[in-house]
Each structure stands twice: as C-alpha cells, then as structure tokens.
Symmetry: C2
Subunit: 434 residues, 2 copies
Amino acid sequence: MEQVNVGIVGLGNVGMGSLTILAENAAGIAAKLGFQLHVKSVCSRSVDTKVLPAALGQVRRTSDWREVVADPEIHIVVELIGGTGVAKELIDAAIAAKKSVVTANKELMALEGAEIWDRAIRSGMNLAMEASVAGGIPIHSVLREGISGDRVVALQGILNGTSNYILTEIERHGTAFADVLAEAQRLGYAEADPSADIDGFDARAKLAILAALAFGVRIVPADIYTEGIRRITPIDFQYAHRLGHTIRLLCSARRSDDGLFLSVRPALIEQSTILASVQGAYNAIWVRGHYGQDTFYYGRGAGPNPTGVAVVSDLMRVAREIRAGSPERVSPFAHERLASNRPLPIDLRKSAYYLRFRVQDKPGIIAALAGILAEKHVSLDAVLQLPSDSKHNLPFVITIEPCLEQAVAEAVAKMAQLEFMVEPPLAIPMERPL
Amino acid sequence: MEQVNVGIVGLGNVGMGSLTILAENAAGIAAKLGFQLHVKSVCSRSVDTKVLPAALGQVRRTSDWREVVADPEIHIVVELIGGTGVAKELIDAAIAAKKSVVTANKELMALEGAEIWDRAIRSGMNLAMEASVAGGIPIHSVLREGISGDRVVALQGILNGTSNYILTEIERHGTAFADVLAEAQRLGYAEADPSADIDGFDARAKLAILAALAFGVRIVPADIYTEGIRRITPIDFQYAHRLGHTIRLLCSARRSDDGLFLSVRPALIEQSTILASVQGAYNAIWVRGHYGQDTFYYGRGAGPNPTGVAVVSDLMRVAREIRAGSPERVSPFAHERLASNRPLPIDLRKSAYYLRFRVQDKPGIIAALAGILAEKHVSLDAVLQLPSDSKHNLPFVITIEPCLEQAVAEAVAKMAQLEFMVEPPLAIPMERPL
C-alpha cells in the first residue's frame, strides 16, 4: 500500500476546510506519516459548482455517495454531510463495504454512536470522530489516549460557540439578548433557526459524546437536563459581576457513587477561573481526573479550518492504523459498566443558586420570598439590588446557600405565583470550580 | 496474548505514582483496553524497602534492571530512573531485547531522543515519552495525534513548575527571590541545587522535545538561548503590573521562513492573556497552528500522580500497539527537513523590551540612557518610575519599541558601563500573545 485513499462526502465548510488542509499541507502530512494520504474522490450534491484547492490535483467528482462507497480503492470514507438520515446510511454502507470512517457528525454519534462503533469493531474497521465535539480542541485524542490512564471524575465545558459569543457580547456591551442574536444571525454566526445553539441542544449532543469518552457510558442526549440562554439579560451580568462571577452556558458532568450528574444550562462561574476567561466563539473543557487532577483544553469550537484539522488528524490516525493492519478494538461508548446509563435526576444535585426577580415594587416583597425559602428549608445568603428607577419592573437578586435543586425548584414555582412578580424568577446555579 | 506484561525500573515518586494508578485503576484500564496490563516486575536499587500498593498483587522485585530486560515474558520496560547514564544503557538494552519502552526521561530524550527513536523504529518496537514534558498535560498526544494535521507555527509554554511557583510567590507576596527560593527548598518544591529549575535548563530540555514534536526538527538543547529567573525582583512585578503585564519564565518557539526561533527566558506577558493566569506549580502550553489557530493546554507540571497518568496512558497506547502487532513508524524527531536544525540566532529576533535599571540618582541619567538608545537606533517608548526613597539604589524602567535583540543587547552592554549604574540593566522581552 503506497498510499491510503480517501473519499470525502459532503463539501460544506468543514469539507472544504479539510480539503484545503489535505491539499496545502500534503508534504507535511506525508512526512509525519511516512506515506501519502491521497484524496481520490469528493462527493456533494452540488459537486460541479465547487472550486477545489488547486494543489489537490486529480480527483474524482461525484454527486452519488454510493459511488464512493463502492470504489474498491478507497480505504477511508469521510462523512461530512451531518444529520441522522443519509449520513447514517452512508456510514453503515461504508462499514459494510469494509471501509474505515471519519465523521464530524455530533447528532448521529450522540444518538447512535454506540451501535455504529459496535458495527465498525465487528467489521474490523476504524472509526474516528474528533471533529464531532469542539472542532479545534483535540479532546477525543486527550480522553481516549492522552489521559486514558486516569479516572475522570468530573468535567465542565463551554461547547457551543454561538451561545458563548452571544453571552460574551451581552456581557461586554450590555446589549439585549434579542439584539445580539439578530446581529449574530446577520453576521452568519447564528443560524436562521437558532434553537439548537441557544436552547442548548447542540451542546447537549456534544456533552453526551464527551461523557461517553470520559466515563465510558452511553448516554441518551434527551436524558440530559438542558436549559438555554434566552432568559439571560444584561442585568444578570451586572449582578453576576457584583458577585465576582460571570455567566456561561455550561456543560457539566460529575461522577458520584450513584451515577452521573449531567446538565447543560447557564451557570454563574467565578470570574477568577480560567474557564470564565473563555470569550466569543471559543470552546473550552476543564477535566478533573482522580489522579492527574485538573487539566484544561481551549480552542476554536468551529470553523472550516479548525474543524478541518480535526478531520485530517483523524484521517492520519486511521490511515496509520490501516497501514499497520490494526482494527478499532474497544468502543468508547461502553468500556465501563455503571449501575445505570441514565443520568441521575437533576433534583438530587446540590448547588448554591442565584435567583433573579422582576417585581412591582411594594412593601413586604423580601418577607414573602424569605418566607417561601424558609418553608422549603433553603437558606438565604444575600440580597442584592443595584440602583434602578423602574418601580413596575424592578430587578433584584437573592443568592441562596447550597441546597438540593428540588427545593429551589419548588420554591421558585411557588414564588412565581406571587402577585407582585412581573415574570417567573430566573434560577441559575452558582457552579463551584471543579 | 491474554495480557501485556510490564516491568518498571525506578521506584521514585513517578514510579510509585504509576504503580498506584496501575494497581488501583486496573479494572478501568482493562475495560478501556479490552485486556489486562500486568505489572510483572519492579526494579529499584532499594527495592526491598519499597511498600508497593496492596492491590498490585504478586510482583517480582529485583534490584538488577538486567533481570527485567532479560525476562522473555515482559513486553514493555518502563524507564523511570532519569539521567543519561544507566537510563540510556537500560533503554538500549530493552530495545535490543525486542521490548517496547515507555520513559519519562526528558534529559535523555532531549539529548539523544532522535537516535533512540531510530533504534526503536528499526527494531519494530514502540516508544513513548508523554511523561517527559509537562507531566499532567497530554501534550505529546495532542501534537502527535490530536492536531497532527495542522502545521504548528509557534508555541509558548510555561514548562517549569518550580520557577513558576517562585515567580508567582514573588508576585503575590512581594518577597525577595532568595527568600522564596529558600522557602521552596524547605517545602521540597525546589532541589538543594536549584540551578536546573531556576536557570532554565530543565525548561530548555522540555522545549527541545516539544520543538521536535511540533516542528519535526531535532534540536540540541544547548543551542537554545536560555536565561533564568535569578534577577527577577518584586519591583519588576510592580512595574510589569503597571504596564498591564506579568512575568513568567517563558519557553518560546516560532517558525519563520528561515528557521526556528527558540528561547527560554523571563518574559513580560499581558495580564489579560490566559497564559498569564497560570499560577504556582502548573504548566501550560499555547499552540498556534496555521489552520486550527490557537489551542491551549494546562495542567500540573509534575507530581507522582499527574506524571503517573502520563506513564500509564503511554503504557496503554503501547500495549494496544503491541497487541495489534503495530510497530512505531516515524520518529517525531525528524519528520520534517528544515534548512537547519540550529535555532536562528536570538539576535535576529524582534521584540519590545522592558529595561530595568538601578542607579545612583543624579541629573542626566535619562539623557545618557536615551543617548545610547538613539545611537543604536532604538526607539524609547516610556519611562516609568514608581515612588522610591533610595537615592543610592533607585530602580526605574524604560520600555522600548519593537527592535532587534542585537540592538538592545549592544545598548544594554554600553549602559552597563555608565558610572551611575549600580548593577547591569535587566532586559526582558515583552512578548506579544501568539
């Protein structure tokens, strides 16, 4: 085998980024591998309109992915279509045709990764998915190889660049959520339908994959408690700063004796932590290992070239394995057997909380709220009120000491019924650093 | 092969940490591998006095490393002796006896890594050295696998925990260097002979290895420009903070068209950067890739358990390769051919500089210094003087605009001759963030 042949299916941003790197950096890649990584075919529905990198040389263009899968000379199929329809069909067909697969598909890997890995392993094929989480950060490589000897006990991540961009824009400029979102859409940073990003579903799929890699468990994304960032306002950052914190959409996983706590939700995190310094569209992951303790990984969450680096690095690893005749051996989705693959109910989680209210100002408000907290055995920590001239929509904040989420949820539900409440209270956990 | 057998030579801190993880985390390791990693032998000069982890089970103890190398059942020899004498003999013998090797030995890998890799590859054996740089940070894994598709253009690292601890203690408490060093020695954070840490030689060996991994070049450590931290005083942190900077012992590598700039030296870095937030004994590495742009890695630089994680993770990778019959293929020390393996002369490097003086106060000082700068065509940026009542040992600072190191060095040498100078000026580059 003088060279390893690759077929790339899907020529969107990541596909074009990957091709650019494979073409421009071909000499460097071959030097590192000791052999050639050759792009034999590219496939896209609109393949004829694509301008491929000149340095790529002769390459077969097709709009039919079956042709790529059927080519006996192709060793690795790269799936960059996304989604769970054609992409799944393609990956299944490629594995059945005894080809290894590299994919950037977080939805599919989060939903059906375990089955796909099983099939690949049974077929003796290699599978790689570095690009499916935090594009520019080689977190798969870190968790599967770099610190594989450790026992991860917890991780916290900022895994959605769009929502982090929106939050840090609100923080910096004091602009309202809706205005920042509209601007992000105008700039192409947010989709026309922004729900996957701002409601936390994109981050949830990534957390499910990271949990598989870190804890060896298979998690159904829909089982992960998920809350988005739509209710975060500039005033929340003002209060958070006053408390020495900032606000980020935090993906959190923590191992306990009984199982895993998993959540995707806005959280107050201490401003002095490295995680709090993650700005704009960057991603970051903080990992706590039982032996190696804290490590931290930071980089671009998306973008054609950073994600392309992940795809190409995967291709190089898989090509090495193929040359060595070494199949994939153990699925990252099931190397440990926990008591249950269901995350623990979020109600059982303990945390301090930030409660932000908007009320019609009148006497007795604090007394009413404090009464409800006392009734639920929740200890009030502090009451904060920044200057405001709005008597009819007065924001203020109560922080409460660490208590069960369930008690907070019950208190908040009851508070929402109070007649002076302009909108339901906003409850955000104050995360301790790992 | 039901299991892969390991022999560990050297039972100091890292050896004991590695054994602890191998024993306590055996089930997790086997689940991830799909087979057992079995410690068959341990070797130390004082092996009889060692209390091994109970969970380790039956293990052969010996004080003769030749016995480990001669054991036909042992697949992997772990070298944790350190130094370039016996350690080298052991590794050579292990490879000759067709065993793979895991090592934490930075001195040896920096000095003779290229030859050792060549021998391992020619013998079809595997070699791994994650623990040789930044113990708890899987930076080898990241550079060799995770972002291998990228073309690294620069990196900056804080790679010596002891000197970073000393600098951050001076910064926090305003204590003099000698006092912090004495306290660090009392606490066991610094060696009785601290030179390797505080004069930059330890960091230099690590930078030589990282440069090999990042750029594929073989660097002789002694060719790297190296300056230690002995001259840094509390007053330097006061001035640095006034300039929005802090001071760290920075390992720096930058690719230019002509070759590599490499240096280990104190540097002013902007306080707002993530790198500046690295405190105490932590290590960190900032990597700039041509495609993936910025990534950042952070964790403990040393310690039995963090470094043990690196050793055990390497063992797992090598064991996987052995099971798959897959040899090491390409040395990380020579995958690219640069014009020269010699770093570029530091004189050709351009940077802004911080110059700190101690003078006997008298009229005409600034005029004299400014005259020398003008003569060398160096542009003065600012003059700073914090309040001081010492007429005979008055500190103050001049910052200069980006210019060639050579011009600064010449100016500083000339300034040192001025009769009002209490000590030679201290010149520290002000590093731009990557």
